[in-house]
Amino acid sequence: MCPQDEIWLRKREKLIHILEVVGDNFKLVKSYSRSAADANIAVPSLLRPYSVLKKTVNYLLHEVGKQTNVPVIVIYDFLNDRLRAVRQDMTIQRLLPEQCMELLEPIIRFHVYFAYRLCEKAINEFDPVLNNKLLLECVKWFLSCADEMDRLNRCFNTHKTALSLDLLNLEDSKTMCDRVLVECLYILCNIENYQPLVRYLGLPSYIKRNPRLKLVYEIAIANIKNDFIRVCRLSHRLCPLTTCVFVIYLPRLQRNSLLIMSSAYNSKQLTVPTTILQDWMLFNSVVDVTECCKHYGLNVDNGVQFNKLSFKCDIEAHKPKLNNRLTGGQIINLHEVLTY
């Protein structure tokens, strides 16, 4: 998983990550380095072929990801770096689209999961924007490979091929390549954006008809119309990874919904019970509702008193919560999201 030169160098310079120490031995994984002008990265002996990359990704996510004796943030930083190196190797040797998809899919799961897992962390520990950038890079890459496969299939006139693993004949892979999942994530990660929906509308019908993808499309359409009741209701049917994305989006949804309600329920006397808001906008508890309403400048007595003038529009959205009603009040674990 690591070229010999790098092993020597890193041992000599004492650049071994804590997660690369396994018992008394070292298990080094090629680390990411930017392609500087003078460095020749296209050296065949430094590149890992597809089968090794596949093993590396599996090892990183399934073995290293399981570690519990180091802080999650350390695991994230390590995996993020090593997976980036995997992508670099993929780019340099221009792997076949089906191989790229195989490798990218678990990496996408990784970025989606950790965006959720680390959502409560401070910005100096975890940068959600940067993570999201890498995630979208992978998603777009994956989808362009999928499009290429579609076109190839059309050329060979084999319409029914839903992309599946048996095509690729891989024995020991623990993760599966789930195109529908990635299409779902693309829509949800950009839920305020029209572009992914335009893409959805143009997809081949065997994918477009998939119930999981349809569900996500319906959520996005309801979201465009600000129909938060429908959005929240439908969200209960999401799978664990799409739930991760939704949990991160939830604060923005709540904020927007409260803004709309501030106009519609604007009154000096009338209130809306906090339990109702908890129910409508998937707050964990009445305490959370109160806290959130106060955050946006709304008065809470027996119920929430909506006032369109006192709603603070210019304030930042509140942070997402790890434990959530949608996650069953528990933190989703990594193993779970990698193996479905």
Partner: protein, 396 residues
């Protein structure tokens, strides 16, 4: 021009047009859409040696690439043709850079750029695997021209190459819309909008520009600007260009509908856009089931035109119209949520409940489409005594 004659005559003719700064004719002589491309005397597998030394620089390389492209087109090798044409454009860029303080050769640039896009489109169709990559490359060549034009800011106003910017921007917009890379349009639009020549560009170019910028605004949900741009395009478009007017209307109609203006049947009939008529009726009546039905029936038309999601948004207008009917029927200022809910259910939204009905009403109030407020305790909507449902057209 030059449909017959020898290669030498052709070269001399091109040279003369170049020396006399006759941009129009020079452009025609180097166009892929002129008669001379059928002239067999101009074809040879060894154009380069025949032209070289026979012609002044930098014209020689332009002619060589042009004729190589003609040669490739004659055997229908569009990929090869595209490569030659893109080199031709690059040679024209060098020519433009060398010509300080003059802009007569802009016509030549327009022609070779337009040809490049057309050839790239052809090549794209022939290569199933390309998926926009050829057009993307072509856009890079066009951008090289654009940069030369945009940078020419020391020349007097009438001689500046900056006058050529809009033509190129239009070409680029066409490419970006075709390959669905709308985010790349933004810097181009900014360049034109901040240009001092903004209103001096030829009307035809302004119409094309506004058509695309209007469509972009529509995708960005900026319907007011979309209306402005597309209306300009529609009103100024030549009355005989039925095809273009129809294209503009395809976007202008849904935008207008969102802003509360419904098209007349006569108009839809004239431009063969009756697909919209059922939609107009359904939106007017607040008939959600019918909207779904129309969307299903004309799905491919709406998707192809890229307006499917806008049509989806028209449901909001339908809600407003439906609730207004309920309000008029009930003839009171305090309307039960249940009444609205029942109306929604009758019109096809069968799974809607009291909470979602409130949510729909809440959005309409927030948008200013209903004046009033909701009382959660009483499950009622209290609407304003005056102008409870202001006309949509007055809102924007």
């Amino acid at each position: 021009m030059m449909a017959t004659g020898t290669l030498n005559q052709y070269i001399q003719y091109v040279e003369r047009m170049f020396r006399t700064a006759n941009g129009e004719n020079l452009a025609r002589l180097l166009s892929l859409r002129d008669d001379h491309i059928n002239n067999k005397n101009l074809r040879s597998s060894d154009i380069a040696t025949l032209v070289e030394g026979n012609c002044v620089a930098p014209l020689d390389e332009i002619i060589i690439y042009h004729l190589c492209c003609v040669q490739a087109l004659s055997v229908k090798d569009f990929m090869e043709a595209y490569h030659h044409q893109s080199q031709c454009v690059a040679a024209v860029v060098r020519l433009l850079q060398a010509q300080k303080e003059e802009n007569w050769s802009l016509s030549l640039m327009y022609t070779v750029c337009l040809d490049l896009r057309l050839v790239a489109q052809k090549a794209e169709l022939c290569d199933a695997q390309s998926n926009g990559k050829i057009l993307e490359k072509a856009a890079e060549s066009l951008l090289a021209c654009f940069r030369v034009c945009a940078a020419d800011n020391r020349t007097a106003d009438e001689d500046t190459k900056r006058l050529g910017m809009l033509n190129l921007v239009n070409q680029l917009l066409k490419v970006y819309f075709r390959i669905n890379k709308l985010h790349l349009c933004k810097p181009l639009i900014r360049a034109i909008d901040s240009s001092p020549f903004k209103d001096q560009f030829p009307l035809a170019q302004q119409i094309t520009y506004r058509y695309f910028v209007g469509r972009k605004a529509m995708f960005d949900s900026d319907y007011r600007s979309a209306d402005e741009y597309l209306s300009f395009a529609f009103q100024n478009c030549h009355h005989q260009s039925i095809k273009n007017k129809r294209l503009i209307l395809t976007y202008l109609i849904p935008v207008k509908m969102l802003l509360g203006f419904m098209p007349a049947k006569r108009l839809l009939h004239k431009y063969d856009l009756l697909q919209f008529w059922d939609l107009v009726t359904a939106v007017k009546n607040g008939n959600l089931r019918e909207i779904d039905h129309v969307m299903e029936e004309h799905e491919s038309f709406f998707i192809r035109a890229g307006i499917y999601l806008i049509v989806e948004k028209l449901k909001i207008i339908a809600y407003r119209n439906l609730f207004r009917k309920v309000y008029l029927a009930e003839n009171t200022h305090q309307i039960d949520i249940v009444s609205f809910q029942a109306a929604l259910q009758i019109m096809g939204q069968v799974d809607v409940d009291s909470d979602e009905t409130q949510c729909i009403v809440a959005n309409l109030i927030y948008d200013g489409k209903i004046k009033g407020y909701i009382s959660y305790q009483h499950k009622k909507v209290v609407v304003s005594k005056q102008n409870a449902f202001p006309p949509l057209s007055s809102l924007y």
